[in-house]
Amino acid sequence: MEITPVEKIRADFLRPITPGNFGKTSRYWVIGLTLLLCWGIFAYIYQLRTGLEATAMRNYVSWGLYISTFVFFIGISHSGTLVSAILRITNQEWRRPITRSAELLTAVALMFGGIMPIIDMGRPDRVANMVIFGRVQSPLLWDIMCITTYLTGSLLFLYLPMIPDIALCKERFAKTGSTFRLWVYDKLAMGWKDTPENWRRLERAMRVMTVMIIPIAVSVHTVVSYIFAMTLRAGWNSTIFGPYFVIGALYSGSAGVILTMSAFRRIYHLEEYITPRHFDLMSKIVLSLTMIYAYFNLNEYWVPAYKMESHDGILLSDLFSGGWSTVFWILQFGTVLLPIVILAIPRGRKPVGATIACIIIVAGAWVKRYVIVIPTLLHPFLPIQNVPASWSSYFPNWVEFSVTGGALAGIFLVITLFSKFFPIASIWEVEEGVHLAKKGLVIPGINTQNGADDRSSADHSNHKPIPAVQEAFAK
């Protein structure tokens, strides 16, 4: 019996989450991550007991790795919005197999990003004061408002298109799944019945969310930048920090999407769905964002460097030719210009090239956040005089590395566990894409409703065999 494309898609995407399909490597990977996470939690408990003295931060560098990581994680979380929302709005057909992993990365990075400032707090026991005595005039409150809104939004954005897939999982694993698993599916499917009315509502909710999530995402990184830009400090006192941070977030976030694509493609053998064409198109997006980012970098450094105004001048000399120059120039040439070169040549946009370029971008983005936070704190207006040596320099110590490493492991862990529990791509959307391709309806602006109705009629008998799948994605 020949299997239909729909059956093949379902089989391919349900395979990784089929109960019992938890290989040895996955097991070691999950155990390893859990250990790292536990070690991070242990380090944090140590920090709680000792006070922030346990970190390398002191009175001049009063923000360190935690706040840099906060900015970095929140930046990565802009991935989902870009890929999903923008590509959805513009009806980019090729988005279908990669939206979910992008949205997942957003939600998880955001969760852990949001934890970082709490880890950084001197008195986490008083976190409720933010609500009891909260002052809306403080940029920190804007952060809390924007990040919680964005987190709610992106969880919804992740969850809504999952509902039909969860219903499918519930049906497929009714016999094989554990009670717990079925209970989760049952609750999350929210009584999805596959009726036209169900589909109509889902489509409408998705349309609203897609439009809303974009301005919310922009607001988030803008107010993150305000934590710095609203101060008078040299290097932070900048009017372009809002857009600079937003573009920096999109640049690192979209690179993050390529990395998730690349990982899931290999691990779950999705080569048929996530094709070189996806890498090529995503790479072009990353390329243009990197170029815009380079342009912002130029503005951020060159404009004050031309004037060399007193305190900005001291900071810039230190960045350009002082103690920070090595890392500064590695960042500018190595993690901004080099990826542009790699991604500009067609071979660099193949899966391997794009993955390498994006690893460089993501790592560079993290270090860049650090180089935004620390040098400014080390260049106060009044000279640093007669202070203990530990105050006048900074490098994160084992506690900070452990806690941050734990958070990173946490991100990987949640993504891994998610991908073992729920389909890592939106099955129904991929199927819909096949239907549209078959009907010749892959034209921007056409309402995808048709495909949905088609699917809900549950008439799969007249589908073309397997080649249709490749046809839809490998063009």
Binding site: N59, G122, S138, P380
Partner: protein, 315 residues
């Protein structure tokens, strides 16, 4: 539970002896007064009792062994947040007189039990440009009138009072250190470690006006000694200055006083000496004025031997 215990202790510590007779007869208590919070007084005088008035107005009888002299009344949190009515406190620092002896720093540290490395009042060795001579610059918190630090505080733990003073409520601060990042003058310090407290310090009720007992994970800085002002005394640094370089007073009265008790007109002092505020261009409107380092009669600081850090601003 913890809160309750604290407030009981506070009530207890606010006991004020009213009865003159009690003081006359209670020799032991006098001892306790002369040696506030002394463990010695406690052990010697157990058994005697005196009348005392609580802050709420009740007359109570207490054992002298438990009586502690009240150095001053800690004001309520509301009072500490409003400030002293009708006042606008200012400080004037005469750089021509300061010889960098750092007596102000030491006095401040003693008064506020600050750890050695934390200088609320810090004396910098400054050199504005390569061609101008270096000079000493004592720097407290400027208690800015447009304070970048209080603007950013998410919980209103640091605040500006009507008398001009900027304070921190260490029992509300969440330790986000946003104010430290925002203060352009590095005036703020963080309690990174768990504070080491003497039994006396632990017994003192907390008030934002004196800033101790310290709380781990919160921010502290120069507070212009509002507790001293309430007692009609000068801030610690002012009285300690051997060169009479520091003046403190009230802008509304247009008068400032130095350690010698010499009171001068603020406006005249600033006018005749070309008084200025540090980094006026930032628009923070400091409440601390400087008089330029002209005609100094002490050797200039030896910047070559200054500790780490580049020497001030080179313009």
């Amino acid at each position: 539970m913890e809160e309750e215990k604290k407030s009981n202790r506070r009530k207890f510590l606010q006991l004020t002896v009213v009865s003159g007779a009690a003081i006359a007869t209670g020799a032991g208590l006098r001892n306790a007064f002369s040696e506030p919070n002394s463990e010695l007084a406690k052990s010697q005088n157990a058994g005697e009792s005196v009348h005392a008035l609580t802050a709420s107005g009740d007359l109570v009888q207490v054992d002298t062994a438990h009586a502690r002299a009240v150095v001053h009344h800690p004001v309520t949190n509301d009072e500490a947040r409003t400030g002293i009515a009708g006042k606008r406190f200012v400080m004037v620092i005469d750089l021509a007189k300061c010889d960098g002896c750092k007596k102000c720093t030491v006095a401040c540290q003693k008064m506020h039990f600050t750890p050695k490395d934390r200088e609320w009042m810090k004396v910098f060795e400054m050199q504005d440009s390569e061609t101008t001579p270096s000079y000493w610059m004592p720097k407290p918190c400027f208690h800015c009138d447009n304070p970048p630090c209080t603007k950013v505080c998410p919980v209103n733990a640091t605040f500006k009072r009507q008398d001009g003073i900027v304070l921190i409520d260490n029992e509300r601060c969440i330790g986000c250190r946003f104010c430290m990042a925002a203060c352009p003058y590095s005036s703020r310090f963080f309690n990174w470690e768990r504070p080491v407290e003497t039994p006396e310090m632990a017994l003192t009720p907390y008030s934002p006006e004196q800033g101790y007992p310290r709380r781990v994970g919160t921010v502290e800085k120069c507070d212009f000694c509002p507790d001293m002002i309430r007692q009609g005394k000068m801030p610690g640094c002012i009285s300690a200055c051997a060169m009479k370089a520091l003046y403190f007073g009230d802008e509304n009265e247009d008068a400032v006083t130095n350690s010698d008790g010499e009171t001068v007109r603020l406006s005249t002092l600033l006018e005749q000496n070309a008084g200025y505020r540090y980094m006026e261009d930032l628009g923070t409107k400091p409440r601390v004025y400087y008089l330029p380092p002209k005609n100094r009669r002490y050797p200039k600081p030896d910047l070559d031997h200054a500790a780490s850090g580049h020497a001030a601003v080179k313009s």
